[in-house]
Symmetry: D2
Subunit: 382 residues, 4 copies
């Protein structure tokens, strides 16, 4: 719920009030959403929900009262406390945050149709047990949680229908997978839906931490490998299941703060030309192209382009693939290099996951297009 | 000039068409502006000019046709070639840029009232000689050029009147000083205009290069000092002249890409309380406060806040000062720590410099307020 | 104690067996030393002690059994467990370390004359209470502990005599101050012992974490200020007491892993020429010069020079000052830029502190020279 | 030639004078070596040559006189000017370097049997034409030059015999391949010599620049891909020829300064157990193991271990492979993660290349062992 009279930054609302949601000319009740955890993902999901005409952002909840939560309040978001601890609420109030109540209070009163749980990884399990299960609330978890928390891992263009079917049978939980898994699923979907993919290897150079966390944590002047092979390939399988029978991944952490770098070595089920692969990627939603011939030599340029797009926070939601690096070895093996905008590429997936879980939209393409229009997800970057 | 039918990103214009400029109810001709050099500063100045109701962005000029210039075109800006070399123009056209002509052509035709020269440091001298002098055009230079190029170095709140007076006498050139000098002038102005400042030392930890340039240049895992003492104090004096008789600076380059860090050690001309200093800074335009108690521990948090503000590219234009670090030693010495948003804090200064140079506004406060309103320069960050 | 038959790396002992210690032709018993905590400082102190002919390294103690401790063992150092917990000892043994006993066992048996406590900051307090006090052992603490732990903070050239005097009165504890404080004390001593220093300001750009810790912690692409003013000036005063009446410091953490950068703004008690200052610094022990005209532009070059010196780990122990940056403002104010080799500049201080605390050498210059000869502390870098 | 009376650092020679070279009891003339270019590789090759009892370092040549060359002189190396330009020689002399003559003079007088050309990439071609060809000198080039410069690319354990055979036929040139290619060749040799390797993919996260160059260049907070596929696989083929028929590589530059990171995805020609692969790597020269269970989590720990080894500059020459990351997928595919000590792993190769090119040793294993003993190349790291 937006508070009246709070005009956000300056005199202008960055996000205009959501309009009435009409479907087939009939005015529909909006799905009521709460976002629990107002961090890197949570604040973006909150903004994204607020932009949808079939959703209403009832409020956000958190446990602290630093600049982040103060900005939420300034934007006009109603702030709740994630925990039902009076001391915590009092602490937040004394720090200057107008706490409207607790997440549990919202759930008890049936004020929320769906909670999007964007708390740090691992917290979701506890909230599921103590809150969502207890009050019978639908909930969406993020990639920091394990697949088992929901039994359903989601990437819109891969398995929206699976989510719909499970929801019909009473499933109340959905897990939006991590940024890396989401990016991999989009790339893989472009290829296995066109050519079959019997085998694939993915290699990731992960960013070390988020820019805002760089003030207190990170890694320095190093490369740190994950356990080999990494968990990314198994995580992709929670979404695409058996679409790629022989799938492995390796990952290292690099000494940078924004955007993961991905390299794919994919063996296709049929012979292709380079043009076939280019077209498959070009036609896939939420993938876009960059080129070194346009001066896009690394992540730095992509991030600058992202900022120049003018979207909030420089978010682009889509996966930039280096078009001029797409390489076909022999006739069936493809090399692809991509950037993964780790802060935001899962944001539209959360919006779609809400629609699938609540079944307010039963056509995945319509949901995807509606989300992309509302968020202004770009088809091309420049 | 905005091209018709070019709707920018998606279907929405990020920057709506400028409205008619009325002063005292009288419709005024807008000042016609060209921006030469569409890099980190140029692209921001172009956007800022396009937002002013008393200015018209005729076009931008550059010499390359990479993603940057393609984005300019996509925004609806008319693109010119900075040089009058047919080969260069042809190269740009073949790369997909619709080159409308040359900067020299614009000047020859009297299409520009003012050129804002945002070409890399040192190019300005040549352009001044071969273009601006030749065609009698007014020009604004950036801090990469020396004071002598214009004989007038500018920070709005310090010496708008000096610029007005010189313009009245026929001066056609103005230099907007560097981000560091601009930040220093704002901080110093807050203090010398209130308490006198007989002596000051400033120490800077500069960012090494811009994020977009980080793909190909920079420094790594080091600190690199400038010659000691650094040029910053003498540069501040080109703006504030003798306001601080004993002024020196030292600077190092740090291994980071965004925002300079500034530390000031200022001896005041009178005894003060800490509150006096806080108030002086609070009342100074284009300075704002951050606090460690709100979780703002370093540049990372300030940059994240900047992005969360929702302004284009995460620009904030104002100088964040750590309020809870303001320290008074004894009764006359003050320590101040500040961040300098190096990509954008000079942007509003360019807008004001245009007004001073063309004398379309003769009250510095009105210009400053008009600029800040158009750019949505925030008074507070969160 | 060096174990027989363990020849260190390859077939060569990196550090040859210590020879008999003769003073005035009389063979003296060597001071028996244990080093508790084998981290960045501890491993260096152990090596340094092993090189002194008036000291015997009885062993090192730690609580883990990773590659660090395995290297200690391979060097021939006897390894003890810092804690008297049988489980911990068993864990270390199972990881392949031949644990010879416990630190407490050594103390109980009077096997140690001095413990150099190089455990992480804060652990010293507990060890003092439960071990050193209990067994009446002399102990040296590092700069991570507070002054109060020993009541004596030490930098050889500043207050060796104070340490001697307190030792004579029964004092058993000494704190070698941090790398930054040590560097500051050396610089300040050069100046206050020659010219008096009524006022000084020091500004530090600290390294964020040690290279080896960069795999798991650090900061990224940022500058993070310490509380303003920083604790460094008060810490310097624990060593130099009232030598500089008006002394303040400020510090930030930079995004690099090796060597702090220091800037000093020092007001002298008398008029000087630049040559006076250069000579004062040139004649001061454990300070050396670098020059930008020799291509030493930043910390990177100094670190490379350090490595090229061929000393173990690239340690140089001395404070590089940029000679061509030494600047005299007016006649009494001096600007100095220096690098602080944070991993190793306190190492010789530990050796000297042992001598002062045990009074085996009562002339500070002789101790300093003896240490510097044994460690090959360079007078010049290139 | 070592200059008499120049005692290097302090009073101790870091590298003791080379002893007489006896082979089979017969005193042999030593091969006379000049090193052209005293940078990151050149200074290490010079030191390595000076340690061999069958070689004599006649001198080093360079074109500048900064701290690097001053340290060479201080070490006792005779310094020559790389070019025969009197002005350049004068400049070096005035900067304080005692220039003994020119590289051309040495060649003209037949003072050198072999020049090791460690000048920056690309300079070798010119020197070959104007100096080595002209004076009929044997020369070794580094990996910055193309294969064609020598027609022979060299890694000791892969093709020493090829170098011997070509030398017998009069070949005078040899190219020691880059650090990355050298590392790849060692890893691949371990596998193809044991199991055959029909197919392999290698992925590299390169360091961006050398630490010493980090003061003025580098990349910042980014990942920058090379053209895809990268040149590394073709370069490996210049050494191992058709040993791996299907070989491709991809590379990115990471935001760190030391050690490349390598990931190998290798398909073997026969079924293997993990133990087979571990043993093959364990038995391969110039490869060693690290383990995460010993706390070696990333490049930072390996670099710290390297420093702790006590070898000059922290050089280790060998390729650290994460033993506990070695993974067999199915029965024939192997994943391997390794670090590449880019500053020094080619140094022993240069020594071996001299022996092969001059045929003073015709058994590759004897050369390798002799080199490794002289350089103290470690078999294990801790």
């Amino acid at each position: 719920m937006r508070q009246k009279g709070n005009a956000g930054l300056g005199k202008k609302l960055l996000y205009p009030p959501v309009s009435t949601n009409k479907r087939n000319g009939v005015e529909m009740a909006k799905v009521k959403i709460g976002v629990n955890g107002y961090g890197v993902i949570g604040k973006r999901v909150a903004d994204a929900v607020a932009l949808q005409d079939d959703m209403e952002l009832v409020g956000i909840s958190d446990v602290v009262a630093d600049w982040r939560v103060k900005m939420a309040q300034r934007k006009g978001y109603t702030v709740y406390c994630s925990v039902s601890d009076p001391k915590q609420i009092e602490t937040m109030k004394q720090a200057g945050v107008n706490v409207a109540g607790t997440l549990e209070g919202l759930l008890r009163n049936g004020a929320l149709d769906v909670v999007v749980d964007c708390a740090p990884g691992g917290f979701g399990v506890k909230s599921k047990e103590t809150l969502y299960d207890k009050y019978g609330a639908k909930a969406i978890f993020e990639g920091g949680e394990k697949h088992e928390i929901a039994g359903l891992s989601f990437v819109c263009q891969c398995n929206y229908n699976e989510a719909l079917e499970k929801a019909e049978k009473g499933n109340k939980y959905c897990r939006v997978v991590s940024c890396n898994t989401t990016a991999g699923c989009r790339i893989f979907h472009a290829l296995y839906s066109n050519f079959k993919v019997p085998k694939a290897r993915m290699f990731l150079v992960r960013r070390a931490t988020d820019p805002v966390k760089g003030d207190s944590k990170g890694i320095m002047n190093t490369v740190v490998p994950s356990r080999l092979p990494s968990h990314h390939a198994p995580d992709v399988k929670t979404v695409i299941h058996d679409a790629i029978p022989d799938l492995y991944s390796a990952a290292v952490m690099g000494s940078h703060t924004m955007y993961h770098f991905h390299l794919y070595d994919i063996t296709l089920g049929q012979e292709v030309t380079r043009e076939d692969v280019v077209n498959a990627l070009k036609n896939e939603p939420r993938i876009c192209f960059v080129n070194t011939k346009d001066g896009v030599m690394g992540l730095g340029a992509i991030i600058e382009i992202s900022r120049d797009m003018g979207l909030p926070r420089g978010d682009i939601y889509t996966i930039p693939v280096w078009e001029d690096f797409i390489t076909v070895i022999g006739k069936k093996e493809v090399l692809i290099a991509a950037a993964c905008p780790n802060e935001n590429n899962v944001v539209p997936e959360n919006v779609d996951a809400i629609r699938a879980l609540t079944r307010i939209e039963t056509d995945w393409k319509k949901s995807l297009e509606k989300t992309d229009k509302a968020l202004r997800v770009p088809k091309t970057l420049y």
